[in-house]
Symmetry: C2
Subunit: 147 residues, 2 copies
Amino acid sequence: MDPGWLDVAVAEARAGLAEGGIPIGAALLGPDGEVLGRGHNRRVQDDDPTVHGETDAFRRAGRLRDYRATTMVTTLSPCWYCSGLIRQFGIGSVLVGEARTFHGGHDWLAEHGVRVRVLDDERCVQLMTAFVAEHPALWNEDIGVAE
Amino acid sequence: MDPGWLDVAVAEARAGLAEGGIPIGAALLGPDGEVLGRGHNRRVQDDDPTVHGETDAFRRAGRLRDYRATTMVTTLSPCWYCSGLIRQFGIGSVLVGEARTFHGGHDWLAEHGVRVRVLDDERCVQLMTAFVAEHPALWNEDIGVAE
């Protein structure tokens, strides 16, 4: 897992922010880092609570028969929903941009045999820190925290 | 959780089967059993690997701010992807039609405070038993079992 693989997810997060959305991006990569699917959170843009960065990237990769050699790259530690996706479909590896602003299910994934690498990428931290400070209710909605 | 609440999920599963899809249906219900969203697996119909019964029902319920008083009704034990959805968004209860043909994450949900009731509904068992016997590769694809 090359840390440089994170760049495509960061670009997706920034694209989401520019659209007025929650700045979380992801990509599903093949064994050599080739992009199979890339996407970002679209809760705001599509008014759809199911479209997290990881699920968007997974959808855009289309129907595949074997995910073991793929890597899910995401700017933020995957929530339980996205961690469940990774486990169910047997995605082999996960590269996480940062887990400082939100700690999801990446430890659980590692316990269940997924190769996990967590970076502490300042671009990812900055995107989420600024967004959560500005839109706390929207962020809580996205992770199911009731008020 | 009234076992009768399962009927809407069974109707969705049958609708999916009639469309040529995988016969798993679900509904997100409010406190009195009112339907907030209902849907079914659409992997085949939409060529979309992210649309499980539960995620379809959740999407069709739209954006909600608090899921604690809702119940996810599903014809089949929820896979890790759908179990993760239920946990992340704090859906309070899950009514499962059957867990005989597939055992997903419902025990894990119960451990984490979700109220879980598992039925052994013959309609649900029959739908899945027949489908899996006829389309084993498609079923394996839907739950991420590589061949």
